[in-house]
Subunit: 159 residues, 2 copies
Amino acid sequence: MQQGNEAIDSLFDEPQPASLGPLDELTGYHLRRAYAVMSADFAQTFADSAMRQVLVGVLSVISANPGVNQGQVGKMLGIQRTNMVALVNQLVDLGFVTRHQDRTDRRAFSLILTDRGQETLRSTLDRIRQHEQRLLRRLTAREHATLVALLRKIDGESD
Amino acid sequence: MQQGNEAIDSLFDEPQPASLGPLDELTGYHLRRAYAVMSADFAQTFADSAMRQVLVGVLSVISANPGVNQGQVGKMLGIQRTNMVALVNQLVDLGFVTRHQDRTDRRAFSLILTDRGQETLRSTLDRIRQHEQRLLRRLTAREHATLVALLRKIDGESD
DNA sequence: TATTGTTATACTCTATAACTATA
DNA sequence: TATAGTTATAGAGTATAACAATA
């Protein structure tokens, strides 16, 4: 297509510059894309380890609430009891968590971080903060704080 | 059942208020939760139909770029060619999209929305806007716009 | 050689139903 | 009767490898 009227020719190629259409006006789409970008970078950052986003969540909640049982952890993180089983099994197999008989409810297990789990959580959080600094480098500190505040409003913590 | 562990025994003396721990300071966690909330509400909103987030994306891009091929759509939406096949098949089966031989590349298909596809996209967008108004009701118009602008910075459109 | 669409496949994530042992 | 943990399973979503037809 080296000759002729390119303005007319282009009508038969790509009618218009590529556009997302009405999708671009939807907040949910941009939330979805931003989440996908951060998830992909997280997975790449921890590709050499067994760490996943959901495991960090479980470790963090156990760390802050030693002795919690699986159901309570799941409730706080939006994870169903049924799916907590395999997650805790993995953390136990990795040597990060131990299960103990609950003193007051013999149906339940109290979860405790091992020393290795504590150390792994600490170093994992360091790597995550670096990964977040990289991904959020275009945001000022104030924008960063604003973003978190707005995301919290969607999560509905103040209901 | 473990016995005689005073460190664990003491945990039951003063129950602590539930906390997410360091997780609560991670932007990625709040992005993940907000995305989960919006995705769940989207799925519930369209539980009575075949519509899914990804299908809205494909319909929107085809609508804005009549004649695009599958690979181009996938590139714009972050969907692999291999996974585009089933998506377009579904939209064709639903009567929303038709495949046509590309004029200039006989390997490719040009994708076009049917009248029914156009109408479905229009009514779907209406329902999505209602769903978003409901979920973002705690955000002012200005906060809403700020959120989208910040999410766009994560997506990296200005790279 | 590279690219478009395709098939087959596998792995993760999430959701439901049903079971057990306790409460 | 309800709840904590468990098992089995099924459906999405997403990833790679390999192929045929065409560029």
